[in-house]
């Protein structure tokens, strides 16, 4: 129930209609428009609402000191429609067994609701999820350096990375070179050596991101200490020759468990419908690091040298737990040692 402003601004949800299992939304409102942290990043996960629509059971008036507007006001300002009064538990069960489905949210006058036929037509004519080019919408157009840190420079291949991931790096004293998802990872930038690489989250099917996968295969890129998160986890695996598949039940929520090989377990935030096939790691030089205890799917891997570390879940939280944030510590530690 917490974390809706973060989820709605998460670029991974680009192009999707998002529904919530919790029956109430909007309880603590939304922070003021354009609010930024001290590094200049938006305090939410991106500059705008990323979803195309929202479906909830009920909304409430907001009450919180940090709120400047209600959820409904925010969505109206951003031109994103929403529906309330929907039995979202039923919808969840439908999505659970059918996977992500195409939907339509229509805004109409109360006395002239659209007919079912019109709605069906709208769905039929909408482009498929895989047909759209989300990268054009969520990835930056050109490279930029974030933060004034004199620390080592870390490149981020941005496929729609959450601001919290960038914040997690900046908070640990590194500078960030933010690159478009299909940009080459330079060995030097503006006179500074690139010391590490992070591949973060983003929308869409990982197999469609051929340019990024290609880039990850380049020897100079492979030589960098690398952290993969969510989509980045999948892209790194694909780049090394492993394969991905679509999950029967996607992992979405702030309450997922990952178990490490040594018996430790952590709660993480997750949002993925695809997973890396653990068996396909064989011969890639990568080894399983963490798994999901419920369906046994791969939740993280590393390479033998310890240079590459990847997690399917979100160590940065926002929304959700941050126990796995030690992954950032390890990654930045490696980067700093190298530098």
């Amino acid at each position: 129930m917490v974390g809706y402003p973060e989820s709605l601004t998460d670029p991974s949800f680009r192009g999707q209609i998002l529904t919530f299992t919790y029956p109430l939304l909007g309880n603590y409102g939304v922070p003021p428009a354009g609010a930024r942290d001290r590094t200049g990043l938006p305090i939410l996960e991106s500059e705008e609402v990323q979803v195309r629509g929202v479906v909830v059971r009920g909304t409430t008036p907001p009450s919180h000191w940090s709120s400047s507007r209600s959820l409904a006001q925010w969505m109206a300002e951003e031109g994103v429609p929403g529906v309330r009064g929907v039995d979202t538990r039923r919808l969840t069960e439908h999505l659970r067994s059918n996977g992500v489905v195409r939907g339509v949210v229509d805004v109409a006058a109360a006395d002239a609701p659209p007919s079912d036929a019109e709605l069906a037509r709208a769905i039929a004519h909408a482009p498929g999820y895989a047909e759209e080019n989300y990268m054009a919408e969520v990835a930056p157009k050109s490279p930029a350096v974030l933060g004034r840190s004199k620390g080592p420079l870390v490149a981020v291949l941005d496929c729609g990375v959450k601001a919290s991931i960038l914040r997690a790096l900046l908070d640990r004293g590194v500078a960030v070179l933010r690159l478009p998802y299909d940009h080459e990872v330079p060995t030097r930038w503006d006179g500074r050596r690139v010391q590490g690489l992070l591949v973060g989250n983003g929308p869409g099917d990982p197999a469609e991101l051929a340019p990024t996968i290609e880039e990850l295969r380049r020897p100079s890129t492979r030589a960098l200490p690398t952290l993969g998160i969510c989509l980045g986890h999948q892209l790194l695996a694909l780049a090394r020759g492993a394969t991905t598949f679509k999950l029967k039940y996607g992992h979405r929520g702030q309450n997922k468990t990952i178990c490490f090989a040594d018996g430790r377990a952590l709660i993480v935030s997750e949002n993925h419908g695809y997973a890396v096939d653990a068996r396909s790691l064989r011969g890639t030089g990568l080894e399983s690091w963490a798994t999901n205890p419920d369906d046994g799917t791969l939740e993280g891997f590393r390479d033998g040298s310890g240079r590459v570390l990847a997690l399917q879940g979100h160590p940065e939280g926002h929304p959700g737990p941050q126990e796995a944030s030690f992954a950032f510590d390890r990654f930045v530690g490696k980067v700093k040692r190298r530098a």
Partner: protein, 1106 residues
């Protein structure tokens, strides 16, 4: 990983139910036993609480009904030699007992390991200084505070921290003895009380943060360090009201993700630092206008909150904690509710849960109604809905089916309402609604009440909808409005009242419009994973049912609702024993309905289907419409369930058990009297009245005293013994206790009679009598407050035969199918019947355990129309005596008068067993916290009236012979001296503080060890000055923990018990058990040094007084 399991462990329970420590620990203990049983571990249970399910005959283990004090547990440790002991499932009582066992070296001596959170961790949560240090290590801020041992230290600390300060007491339950001090005078009072209440003579002063949000996290952690939070909860009435008295919502509703995670991470760090293995509860306060927060406390054990969290989420915390204590890690455990996913996850809720306390403050004469840092509620309920208003409205009806959240149409002036709102009482939410209706803006309501605006806005929505319904009265209710009202939790009756319609008409109308609730499942995963569970609730904000109806012929058992005065864990025991009985009889499916999260019956895997719902006519009919049960059982869920019987019957719902007509005959005084006449069973003279004049004439005719009561009562509500005409007039006219619509029944009150009860099971032909129970006190003390003795000590055999015969005739005439209870008066070898209850009674668990006869299994047969398999009187094993003693919570209820009467006041009970009455009695008294009078201690006697004084004489002589010093009031002292008793010292009255020696002075100096105070008259209106005097004395005795008796017979029994102790060791034996895997070891009788030597006792008290 393989776990090296212990073969045998000791589990400490929590003893009698008291305010701050109630039936939730039967739930946690039972879950623990389930976990132990699964692992094949032999469990030795120590718990004197006779009414619990955890003390039923175990599948693998042994049960001791013994006090939970080191003196009694140490011999059990020595005899049983368990490998480990579990301290975290029996509340503060078990934890304190464990800490003391360790301090005394008993654990080390017997090589017993503490399983779960180690003692060092427990101590760091119990000792404030250690707690603050631990939290600092974990980078978790705590409120600046000072631990003090005297008033002077307290004053210095308060001035440093700045008034107001809050005073907390170390090692006590439910914030007992604590309070807020706004100035020096209040500081003196609260600190004085707190120092006396603290077993270590220490109180803690802290900055007062009453306006902060109050949040709790339930943390689970294994020995490997894997940890998670199962649930967080928000207290609607902010910090200023104790969480036990607060309205609690889960999950939190007004926190952002940043705040939620900030507190969650702090909770995990704190649990790590303390070294929790199992479960703990962490409480935080959070500034409502910033991210400033502090940890308030950690309960390193299962708690009321953890029981609530288990029910709110479906995550079985106690069960998991027990497995973790045995050495398992979280990822190794399965999520019991889904059966396929791991227990290492955080549940996702797709509903809102609201916990509402149940207070019974009106039952306690003079009790302070204001809510604050000391807990006063006796139970709680949990409403589940798709919105806060829906869950809240359900909870309100769950706490009392007649209760109503909605404000009256005529409201008071805003200023008056706001004044009330500023000082919360149990009516605080209704008061907030009244303020809104009076036109106060929501922002002001929020500011004055400290209730977050979010909750106030929800209340506004309820209020506005009520007005909308009222505005359209006469015209049909638009379906849209009807649906909105139902989604906000309005009952059909509430809609009817607002729109001036009959409840039935509203129901019919809404069913015709297709507005009906849907059955929803609690699956811990918010539907994200396919899980088939049987844990259900109903909501109007849903389009489809999650389950199909149960197989045809299934049965619904209606539970007992919230723990309250008069209905407590014993009815949960009856409910579950009947469920088990029905299952054993092969009923295709047994569903359960209950609203109380502190129960075993709401553990979802104890029945085939659990409806966590309201126990109201409307809701039972909704469920019946969906399920079409073959029968509904209403006779095991106390009077709450029983009251539904005639209503359900009228609606065509099949009732399983005794027919509704028979119940009506037993409960309608006039019909019952006619029946008794026909059966030639004697009864006291009685009549029903509609005016004061008629009543008065009747009382004159039969003679005073008389007993005045309304019909259909539970626990003596509004009953009163009246001594004279003036009192009768006053009692009846005040609060309009008599009116043409509400007649009162007046019964001749027989003075000096004994009270005897009989519990039995009948199939309409045969009768199985569970036992005859004799009250130690004379008639006039409510059955729930009386000490029971089994077998009877005084009732002549021939009278017992008459009672059995009367019960048999009643059973056959009324065609009773199931349990029933009859109450009799016995005087001069004559008996009279005073009450017949055609339902399971409070004493059924005591009799079942004492006799070993599975009474409710027989009841299940009878209710299904099958013949019972036994007849006659269930035999008590030869040489066994059982004594049941009530537990009172007067200390927790500031101001309450501990005088016993016809209104029930106890919050719980214990029973102990032994080879003699005295052996069992002494143990049971100790188990309820009654101190034994030290050798050469001092008794203070104050008895009203010549007859009682006469009866006191032999008791006083006995005391003297035991070497006790005797002090008395002028009157009583003069009488005793006059009869030749030597060395009686007279103490002057409370109201004469200048005359010395004065009783109050002596009491405060710790020079009185035992008090008998039997007021002259049974009415409180007479002799007000003198009675006030005695009240002050009784109250002080409660506050100082000095044993106090207000009945001469109980006092005499106590003295007899003390005399017995002089000559005999107390026995420590298990009541029952299964053979052990290894060599059997029995616990022999032990000499228990429970009588403190005088010197030690006094020194301890002196320390406290400073």
């Amino acid at each position: 990983m393989t776990v090296a399991l212990p073969e045998k462990v000791l589990l400490l329970g929590s003893g009698a139910l008291k305010i701050g420590e109630a039936g939730e620990f039967d739930y946690s203990g039972s879950q623990c036993l389930k976990a132990l049983d699964e692992e094949g571990v032999y469990a030795v249970v120590v718990n004197p609480n006779i009414a619990t399910l955890q003390t039923d005959p175990p599948r693998r283990g042994r049960v001791y009904f013994q006090p939970l004090t080191p003196e009694f547990v140490a011999p059990i440790l020595a005899a049983e030699r368990p490998e480990g002991v579990l301290l975290s499932f029996g509340g503060q009582t078990a934890l304190n007992c464990g800490v003391r066992l360790s301090d005394r070296g008993d654990l080390a001596r017997t090589k017993t390991r503490v399983l779960g959170t180690p003692l060092t961790g427990i101590r760091s949560t119990e000792d404030r200084a250690k707690f603050v240090r631990a939290m600092a290590n974990a980078r978790v801020p705590t409120l600046p505070s000072r631990a003090v041992y005297s008033y002077d230290e307290a004053l210095a600390a308060a001035e440093e921290l700045g008034f107001p300060v809050i005073v907390r007491v170390a090692y006590t339950l439910g914030g007992r003895g604590g309070g807020i001090a706004r100035d020096r005078a209040e500081l003196a009072e609260v600190v004085g009380r707190g120092l006396r209440a603290s077993p270590v003579g220490q109180v803690l002063l802290e900055r007062w943060v009453g306006a902060f949000k109050q949040l709790e996290y339930e943390v689970v952690r294994d020995a490997r360090g894997n940890a998670l939070t199962v649930c967080n909860m928000e207290n609607v009435l902010a910090m200023r009201v104790h969480t036990g008295d607060n309205v609690v919502v889960a999950p939190s509703q007004t926190l952002t993700d940043a705040e939620y995670q900030m507190l969650r991470q702090a909770a995990l760090r704190a649990a790590e630092e303390v070294g929790i293995v199992g479960e703990c509860n962490i409480q935080f306060c959070l500034d409502p206008t910033s991210e400033e927060y502090y940890a308030i406390e950690i309960n390193a054990r299962l708690s009321r909150s953890s029981a609530l969290a288990s029910k709110a989420t479906g995550y079985p915390l106690a069960y998991v904690a027990a497995k973790l204590a045995l050495g398992y890690t979280l990822p190794e455990l399965k999520n019991r509710i889904t059966g396929v996913t791991t227990a290492c996850f955080e549940p996702a809720l797709d509903y809102v849960v609201v916990k509402l306390p149940r207070w019974d403050l009106d039952k306690f004469a003079r009790a302070d109604r204001r809510l604050g840092p000391s807990m006063k509620s006796v139970g709680e309920v949990m409403g589940i809905g798709a919105s806060f208003p829906e869950a809240l409205a359900k909870a309100v009806r769950m706490s009392d089916p007649r209760a109503d959240l909605l404000p009256p149409a005529e409201v008071r002036a805003p200023r008056e309402v706001l004044e009330d709102l500023a000082h919360p009482t149990p009516d605080v939410l209704r008061c907030a609604l009244e303020a809104l209706r009076a036109g106060v803006d929501p922002a002001t309501v929020s500011r004055v009440s400290f209730i977050d605006r979010w909750f106030v806005d929800a209340l506004s929505e309820i209020e506005a909808t009520d007005r909308a319904l009222a505005a359209g009265r006469g015209a049909p209710i638009p379906t849209e409005l009807l649906r909105r009202a139902k989604e906000l939790g309005f009952s059909d009756r509430a809609i009817g009242r607002a729109s001036q319609r009959d409840e039935e008409e509203v129901r019919r109308g809404r069913l015709e419009s297709g507005v009906r609730p849907r059955v929803r499942m609690i699956d811990t995963l918010a539907g994200e994973w396919p899980a088939r569970t049987n844990y259900l609730y109903l909501t109007y904000r849903a389009d489809a049912d999650d389950v199909r109806p149960m197989p045809s012929g299934s049965v619904l058992v209606v539970g007992a609702g919230p723990y309250r005065i008069g209905s407590s864990v014993e009815f949960d025991w009856s409910t579950m024993n009947l469920v088990d009985g029905l299952k054993a009889e092969g009923v295709p499916g047994v569903a359960l309905l209950n609203s109380n999260p502190e129960t075993v019956s709401t553990d979802y895997d104890r029945s085939d289907r659990l409806y966590f719902e309201e126990i109201t006519l409307e809701r039972v009919r909704d469920i019946q419409d969906f399920e079409s049960f073959g029968g509904v059982v209403t006779c095991v869920g106390s009077q709450l369930a029983q009251n539904l019987t005639p209503l359900l019957h009228m609606c065509g719902v099949p009732i399983l058990g005794t027919a509704s007509e028979s119940i009506d005959t037993a409960e309608d005084r006039a019909r019952f009297a006619r029946l008794l006449e026909r059966l030639a069973i004697p009864q006291p003279a009685w009549r029903a009245f509609r005016t004061v004049e008629e009543a008065s004439a009747f009382a004159d005719e039969v003679g005073y005293p008389v007993l005045v009561r309304p019909s259909y009562v539970l626990s003596g509500q509004a009953m009163r013994v009246i001594a004279g005409r003036a009192d009768l007039g006053r009692f009846l006219s005040e609060a309009a206790r008599v009116s043409p619509e509400h007649p009162v029944v007046i019964t001749k009150f027989v003075e000096g009679a004994d009270e005897v009860e009989l519990d039995a099971i009948s199939d309409g032909e045969r009768v199985l009598v569970a036992g005859i129970l004799e009250h130690v006190e004379r008639a006039g003390v409510h059955s729930g407050d009386a000490i029971f003795c089994l077998p009877p000590r005084h009732t002549p055999e021939e009278v017992q035969q008459q009672l059995l015969s009367a019960a048999g005739r009643l059973a056959r005439t009324l065609a009773i199918r199931g349990p029933f209870n009859v109450q009799f008066l016995v005087k001069d070898r004559e008996y009279q019947i005073i009450e017949l209850n055609l339902r399971a009674s409070r004493s059924l668990p005591f009799l079942t355990k004492a006799t070993g006869v599975p009474l409710l299994r027989e009841a299940a047969r009878a209710m299904l129309g099958r013949p019972i398999t036994r007849e006659g009187v269930a035999p008590l094993p030869p040489g066994r005596w059982g004594v049941k003693v009530p537990q009172f919570s007067f200390l927790q209820l500031a101001g309450s008068d501990p005088l016993l009467g016809v209104e029930m006041q106890s919050t719980g009970e214990v029973a102990c067993f032994g080879p003699t009455f005295s052996d069992a009695l002494v143990k049971a008294l100790v188990a309820t916290g009654v101190r034994l009078v030290p050798r050469r201690g001092t008794a203070f006697l104050s008895v009203g009236g010549p007859r009682l004084k006469e009866e006191l004489l032999p008791v006083a002589e006995r005391l003297r012979a035991l070497g006790l010093k005797i002090t008395a009031t002028e009157d009583t002292g003069a009488f005793l001296a006059g009869r030749g008793l030597k060395g009686v010292r007279t103490l002057h009255k409370v109201s004469e503080p200048d005359r010395h020696p004065n009783v109050m002075e002596e009491l405060d100096r710790g020079k009185v060890d035992l008090i008998l105070n039997v007021p002259l008259s049974l009415t409180q209106e007479k002799f007000e000055r003198m009675l006030e005097d005695e009240y002050v004395l009784r109250r002080r005795a409660v506050e100082l923990g000095v044993p106090l008796f207000t009945s001469l017979e109980a006092f005499a029994a106590y003295v007899e018990g003390v005399a017995w102790l002089e000559e005999h060791p107390l026995t420590v034996d298990a009541l029952y058990g299964t053979p052990e895997p290894g060599a059997p070891r029995g616990a022999p009788s032990q000499q228990i040094p429970v009588v403190p030597r005088r010197k030690r006792a006094r020194a301890r008290r002196r320390r406290r007084a400073t």
